[in-house]
Amino acid sequence: MNKQLTIEEFVASLKSGMTIGIAGWGPRRKPMALIRAILRSDLTDLTIVAYGGPEVGMLCAAGKVKKLIFGFVSMDAIPLEPYFRKAREAGTLDILELDEGMLQWGLKAAAFHLPFLPTHVGLGTDVMTHGGFKTVQSPYDDGEVLLAMPAVKLDAALLHVHRADKLGNIQALGPDTYYDEWFARAADKTFVSAEEVVERMDHSYPDDARANIVERCFIHGVVEAPLGAHPTSMPPSYGWDMKHLKSYADSAREDGGWDAYLADTIGADEAGYLGRVGGKDAVAALPLPIF
């Protein structure tokens, strides 16, 4: 068993029209190397599911997204993602806007092979009105009416972690792993990029098994991608590149700004990407964000 893929093999295993969940949270720990591979591909008509950051804006700008299912889209210190905003204001995106908690609940329903999970959340708001959600009544004495959050099933999930082995054992270090494990369990296939891929986790990092956020039966492909979260943060290894995110955001105000970002920064291949954004030493030294 060897789940290691090249980045080309990874992107070749996706198909247009798929529903793809992207783990991470806003500008935190996004699988950006995998996203860039999708941006360079001819994949299209994707349904994207995310706690969105710059990856959502980039995929929208590149015309890859048919539908977006989101808890939010933000780059934190730059609150409004400019390309997401453009796509929304142009009316070109199908959307399902969710409360943040509803999204993870829908992923959990999918992971458990349930049609829905009940919740209070969304009731009384326009998330309910516009989302077309249905209610269920508790069969017990309380008789409460609850929103039935439908399963959010994914054809594929994409994660970026610190370490993976060729069997699909992964380790995500850092203080928070968000809802990454649920994206993985909600998906038919989960692809993980990792800062480092080793032969056997137990031979290399046996003391960090608690960082194994999701079991290897849910992991189908691993891709080595050092600094692969750039320009998003990867604590404790490196911080986000706010200068880069700002110039990316500024490009949305220029004619041809996206085309230039795509050609000059995303570029033709991942191998040259780090060189184009300041070099691997500079990226590795990005300070962790302060909140």
Partner: protein, 266 residues
């Protein structure tokens, strides 16, 4: 307690906003934005030490984390509350009181942070999306901080996209348990309001020195009620100002209100 000689209106609002958490006990006090965050810290360091608080990332702290640049490891963790546990532990459990700054607020206390104008399919101005507001509002206590009280914020009709639950009877789906909806204070640059009016109507409970009821009404898109006795917002004490200054060593609070006006003593 001595009253400090000089203070800004923002500092006066921070003190007023800290009152939102008085006596809340052991729950997570979340202030989104510099002034609400300073207010939460002030509440914990003065009248309600039981409050819980995060470092904005993943850890619970007992010493509120100062705003702005600092050493990454300066904050010392006492507990752990990452985003991955937030709905389980703080939001859906009801163990939280958040103070937020919505883009729109209506007479029912419903708020909007999703989009302005246009439609769901094509908004005129896309904002953040509803984020956690639907869940926050139906599960735990909420308060609001409004730095520029105006009819653009306090809208005449319903907000453009109802992101959080308020007290609108037309949206009270039969059979749904809305018993945890609990809106407390709205602190603005003109006044302090609560939801203690008729059928949870918004009413003025405190006016900042020099501000009249009529002036607030004029800046609000719907009719306001008045508390039986409207108080005057107190001046901060020297102790409160010292704590605020310590929690905001880079002076970010100076940017909260337009032109950072001076506060007034009644």
């Amino acid at each position: 307690m001595t009253t400090a000689p000089e203070f800004t209106l923002c500092e006066q609002l921070i003190v007023a906003a800290s009152e939102a958490w008085r006596g809340n006990g052991e729950l997570v006090a979340t202030g989104i934005g510099p002034a609400p965050r300073l207010a939460a810290g002030l509440a914990k360091l003065t009248h309600t030490p039981e409050l819980m608080m995060t470092d904005g990332e993943a850890y619970l702290v007992e010493d509120p984390v100062p705003l702005g640049p600092r050493g990454y490891d300066d904050r010392k963790a006492a507990g752990y509350l990452p985003f991955s546990r937030f709905f389980d532990a703080a939001v859906w459990s009801g163990k939280r009181h958040a103070m937020v700054t919505p883009s729109q607020i209506d007479r029912f206390g419903q708020t909007n942070i999703s989009y302005l104008g246009g439609s769901y399919d094509q908004p005129k101005v896309q904002m953040l999306g509803a984020r956690g507001f639907p869940g926050n509002s139906i599960c735990h206590i909420n308060s609001m901080f409004v730095p520029a009280h105006s009819k653009r914020v306090f809208v005449e009709g319903e907000v453009d996209m109802v992101s959080s639950v308020g007290y609108n009877p037309a949206r009270r789906t039969p059979g749904v348990n809305f018993s945890r909806v609990d809106l407390r204070l709205i602190v603005t640059d003109l006044c302090v309001m609560d939801f203690g009016g008729t059928d949870n109507a918004i009413r003025i409970v405190m006016l900042h020195p020099g501000v009249t009821f009529e002036q607030v009404q004029e800046a609000t898109g719907f009719a306001l009620e008045a508390a039986a006795e409207i108080k005057t917002t107190p001046a901060p004490t020297a102790e409160q100002l010292a704590i605020i200054a310590r929690l905001d060593p880079h002076g970010l609070r100076a940017g909260v209100l337009k032109d950072n006006p001076a506060g007034k003593r009644s």
